[in-house]
């Protein structure tokens, strides 16, 4: 009802929403239906003048990361959004699995201390993208740049023990594309006739790879992929798609064969030595969820992330899922009648941002955020794996050290085997912290689940 609008919200300016992805950053205002800008997560370093990705600075010293983040946030506020940081609350949409404690703490420090924002909330991207659907249960797969992560959410609560991740995403495609271009592509033009691409380029620039991926490549159908794989060595009976002449710098033109166009994205669906691919990620996540939730989860698949916008991606994923289901080990353990996909009112690369935008538009935003006052008293940001409770300061100080050690494997590439590592520090968190964790989940769910809007008190 419009009755409620403007009652207590009138004086306050709309919040700003940031989704700082590894490759691209989405920024905009709350209650808008799309971000204002999608820009590369890059900043020019003051010392060297080079463009660097801010996530690559994570390994550097805290001062370096801080100065890079200061410059990047400055760009977001003063070149893109054009608003004063002091006047608006901030919603940061982040992936629960990939952001490191180091990064989010530095970001919070930059926002509170340097830009003096009134409040910040770190919203888990997997959860908030359910806001855009109006449902409270779903299996969310985020196919981003470095990693693909899968997180089942049931009635607004993330099933943490069932998350899955693999480093199969945009970056993997780029690496594969570079290797196959170097191996087989030839370049004409220049001083002398045809030459292999590797003769004058040691490494191909990432922006060129991305452009080739976006404009030329696609995800082929399951039938064609199996036919390819069946006669790997002998000449394929299939007629590939036509080759593309791709202009490079100067008068050079590279020929990108149909094989490269069609088969580059196969890297996402080829099984690795452990038999894991994107399809098996989803099935593993379902398998690790409680048995009574499995069917509901399979019927509420949400595929987000920029890489999933490749032509043919969702169609291929669906056929892969059905094909995997018929094969062991899933054929023995899982019996699912159908996989159903959600269509969200957005483009796949900013669904999580849109969820954040809806969260930021609500009156309850203030009660869920960490305010500047609270942060100045205690400069810590609560995390699902390291909650901080004031009364138990001494106890937790020891625990957080352990937690940081435990949360590091989350961001590393070997996510698959670190389940046991990450669950152990969580059990060392005090019971009060766990209660608080539940209430955070409760708050988030109460807004997305229908009328039981009462938050559980902690």
């Amino acid at each position: 009802m419009p009755l409620f609008e403007g009652l207590s919200y009138g004086g306050e300016k709309t919040a700003v929403i940031f989704d700082i992805g590894v490759a691209f950053t989405k920024c905009g205002f709350a209650a808008e239906n799309a971000p204002q800008f999608i820009i590369p997560t890059e900043v020019r370093k003051r010392k060297t003048g080079q463009l660097v990705n801010i996530h690559k600075c994570c390994s550097e010293t805290p001062q370096d990361l801080r100065s890079v983040l200061v410059d990047f946030v400055h760009r977001l506020y003063f070149r893109q959004l054009l608003v004063n940081p002091k006047e608006r609350r901030v919603v940061i949409v982040e992936s629960m699995l990939t952001t490191t404690t180091h990064f989010r703490n530095t970001l919070a420090d930059v926002l509170f201390k340097h830009y003096e924002v009134p409040s910040v909330v770190f919203a888990p991207g997997h959860l908030v993208c359910l806001f855009t659907l109006g449902v409270s249960t779903g299996l969310i797969m985020d196919v981003g740049y470095t990693e693909t992560t899968v997180m089942p959410v049931f009635e607004g609560t993330a099933i943490l023990k069932a998350w899955q991740a693999l480093p199969l995403a945009g970056k993997a495609i780029h690496d594969y594309l570079e290797a196959s271009l170097k191996e087989s592509s030839s370049v004409e033009g220049g001083e002398s006739g045809d030459k292999p691409i590797s003769s004058f380029m040691d490494s191909i620039d990432e922006s060129i790879l991305e452009d080739i991926k976006v404009r030329c490549c696609f995800v082929t159908s399951h039938e064609r992929a199996t036919m390819y794989n069946a006669n790997e060595v002998s000449t394929s009976p299939l007629e590939g798609p036509p080759a593309v002449r791709y202009p490079l710098k100067g008068d050079r033109v590279a020929t990108i064969s149909g094989k490269i166009r069609e088969r580059t994205c196969e890297v996402l669906f080829e099984e690795d030595c452990e038999g894991r691919s994107l399809a098996s990620l989803i099935l593993d996540a379902i398998l690790q969820s409680p048995i009574d939730m499995r069917r509901t989860l399979a019927e509420n698949l949400v595929i987000i992330g920029g890489t999933s916008m490749l032509p043919g991606f969702n169609h291929r994923l669906r056929s892969e899922l059905y094909a995997h289901l018929k094969q062991p080990p899933y054929s023995e353990k899982l019996s699912l009648p159908a996989f159903k996909f959600h269509k969200y009112p957005a483009k796949a690369n900013y669904v999580a941002w849109l969820g954040g935008s809806m969260l930021g538009a609500l009156e309850t935003l203030a009660s869920k955020s960490v305010t500047k006052e609270a942060y100045t008293l205690q400069p810590l940001i609560p995390d699902w794996c390291s909650l901080y409770v004031a009364e138990e300061k001494e106890k937790v100080v020891g625990a957080t050290k352990k937690l940081e050690a435990g949360s590091r494997p989350l961001s590393s590439k070997k996510l698959s085997s670190s389940l046991s590592v990450d669950s152990s520090p969580r059990s060392s968190v005090s019971s009060a912290a766990r209660a608080a964790a539940r209430s955070i989940a409760g708050i988030l769910s109460s807004a997305s689940v229908d009328s039981n809007a009462t938050p559980k008190s902690s």
Binding site: S8, L133, F218, E239, P241, E262, N300
Partner: protein, 454 residues
Amino acid sequence: MATFVTEDRVLYAASSGAKAPLCRLYFCRHCLKIRSTNCVSHEVDSLYCPNCLENMPTNEASLKKYRCSNCFDCPTCCHTLSTRATTIPMPDRDQPGKIVPKKVYYLACGFCRWTSRDVGMKDQLVAGGGWQNQENPHDKRIFYLLDHFRQLAAKEKAEKEKKKYIRRRSHLHLSDKFGLSSVAARRRSGLLSVGSPSMKESEDVKIQDIEPNIASEDVDDQLDDSIFTQELDLSKVTNIKQRHANPDVQPMKTTDLYPKHKHLLIKCSQRCRECEHNLSKPDYNPHSIKFKIQLVALHHVPDLKMMSFPSLILNKESQVVLIVLNPLDTLVHMTLLPLEKEKDDWSTAKIVIPSCELLLSPRDDAADFDENTDQKQAFKDNTSVVVFRKANRLAFLIKVIPQSQDEEVKVAFQMKYDYRNLASALQQTEGKEPEMVWLQHSVFLNLGRLTPQS
């Protein structure tokens, strides 16, 4: 000129400890401290369109999503579009059957030759244009969802407040034994009669169940068979930048590219974090490059420069000529002091600092043209230190003994000078003389590498 070109040679320490060239620092004349870009807070001062240089008030800008309503960017190359006029024959409105030439307008890019006719946009009859904006196809659904969540949030908030209210009531019951019950009861009933209608209303609001999104087995991106047979024309496929320029639609084909309103730019003002005074405030008018307040350090702190590259030999005393420029319109008494050892993480060489006081004559814009004045006599300089002086410029010698073979020769010292504090004089009663204060700044010099020995 040298100030901006060799800016990494002479660095000043800001109050936060950061080192930066003087031209990148501010001087807060209220705190009397040097401020770096990190110890000032930036603020959006005014918004304007970089193409038409038209100011836009903040409220209007936020309604228009911070974009100019008149100017457009080319969707393919991001260059500014210009409006072109042409005449086309059109049937006359008054006399049917008769065809008259009419003036129409369309948008064209002067850089990549894209025109609004390429994508089938209709020509406009007025130059200002009534160009249609692209709508997000999901507007309705998003608005519906948002509306629903807002109701839930409002209910959640109301319930929280109700809890507070009930707790207060229970305290009133406790006070019974002091014989206040009747008073409390009366007050309560009064309160309730006032408060109840609105309370009831918010309780009774039934929030309708949301229409959840229905998942389906279908996916909509099945490949068309033509992709395997048809040649791909690269010029018809958009690149990722063109797609991201319009996040709502993100068109895949160049035939779906529509012009986007030009994004605004801002004029920024800087404020001292400590005393919250403005350090820099630009003129409101976007045409103007002037400032209302401009407290850059270059105008308030004596500016040190190296006159030339000195010859530096390991473990030998060498002389370095520095020039100092007085930007103030008062006579400045400057002395150089060594930097405390514990603060010094910079030096790689020993420095011998002149012990005498250096007198800097005030800045006078006309002095440069006045060749007759011989200032040497007026100031009685110590000739072993002062090399020459001209107007508000003074060249003097320091001695440096390089200590390390491989590193660049770096020295640091402090600069102490008197400054007329105009800010405090303004605050105090009139007629009082401006107070003179002594200011001290740390200066860091990078003299470059050792001179190669032949």
